[in-house]
Symmetry: C2
């Protein structure tokens, strides 16, 4: 009984989230902002990948902002701010995912002029389950998976991998050390999301970052030809 | 408005979970079962650590059972069953944590005679947030953290680390490859949970497994001196 009512309320909350996400997406599109939602397990390397990506985009004159979600600390926001990008922290105080409403609130709080932003990166809470249900108004959901996590993770967390548009395999410099079968990992990603575009990267060794950056620039171009 | 009602219902559901967990704990105690709830991020190595632990306990004549929680696959249950332990799978079909009610149901479904089990291992869903709120009737909550995840994870997920009784650092054979500062990781664990007992292990290289097994045997002895 309790559970049935809980589910009904959750659907209510979710559809409210979807409405806000849809409005956010329209706003991003009208301002020419490509919005990206980065999801992954804790420790898969979202922040370090973002550092490398931001550095390259900024170096080439692009205008970039980041909303960094974190349960309790502002470690990630501090690291990302050092690149020179606009960075704002969303502390979730225990919540296991970000919601569209918080994205909306924190964009207002940061007082960003969206027309002056080309790329908005939203770094979600490290969690392979809950963020899959929450649209944040993004154009692309990017799922990261580290070679240290095991080849089977896409099969074990199919909903998140299925809801993502792009996969980035991280820490590929460790493939041999952890005896990861990279081909098997890619097959497993495509078993739950056929034809998924997959990038192979090592932020620490600066491997595979540029193709991912080029992809983001191209995705934005295709959407906003007026720029 | 919706959110206030949702929270109230969640508390209702949680306290129902707590009641079932308390009854489970009483049952485990009356039967001499040491129950352990293994929590961690996805890919931190819960299953491989359990394989090594089960092998040693079974080799020494202990009676061991495992409830393996997984969103969609039975990969973990299959791997664990090869050790010869009693293994039963809990497929959560998307849920981000285990609940006491499911533990109760699946013990009944498995038709285990609890009086013939000394150690019950419950492998939770890989998630550093949601499982922290759900008591499963365990005696000890064991949190795993892999050296590949970064030293800051205890600070970023303090609730789970604070609710755990023991920490097991996994994959220590990779300390150098991933440039992990093990002392900093331990300091961060103890910053959120002072005096936490910490084990350092590599299941792949068979390092540090026996001290953890000895600890489990000793913990059971201290609780059930009648055996």
């Amino acid at each position: 009984m309790l559970k049935t009512r809980l589910l009904e309320l959750r659907q209510g909350v979710l559809s409210k989230n979807d409405q806000i996400a849809e409005r956010l997406r329209e706003r991003f599109h009208s301002e020419g902002v490509l919005a990206l939602n980065f999801v992954s397990a804790p420790g898969s390397g979202k922040t370090m990948l973002l550092e490398r990506v931001l550095e390259r985009l900024l170096r080439d004159g692009h205008r970039v902002a980041v909303l960094a979600g974190d349960l309790e600390t502002d470690n990630d926001a501090q690291r990302l701010a050092r690149t020179g990008a606009l960075v704002h922290q969303i502390q979730t105080h225990g919540a296991c995912h970000l919601e569209a409403e918080w994205v909306q609130q924190h964009i207002a709080e940061a007082r960003w002029d969206l027309s002056d932003i080309e790329f908005l990166f939203i770094e979600n809470v490290g969690n392979l389950v809950c963020p899959s249900s929450y649209d944040l108004g993004e154009d692309l959901r990017v799922v990261l998976i580290s070679v240290t996590e095991g080849e089977d993770k896409p099969l074990k967390y199919p909903v998140l991998f299925n809801s993502a548009d792009v996969a980035v395999i991280t820490k590929i410099d460790l493939v041999e050390a952890v005896e990861c079968d990279l081909e098997l990992m890619k097959r497993n990603i495509r078993a739950v999301r056929p034809d998924m575009r997959i990038f192979e990267t090592s932020a620490k060794r600066d491997i595979g970052i540029q193709p991912f950056v080029d992809f983001l620039i191209e995705e934005r171009k295709q959407r906003f030809t007026f720029c």
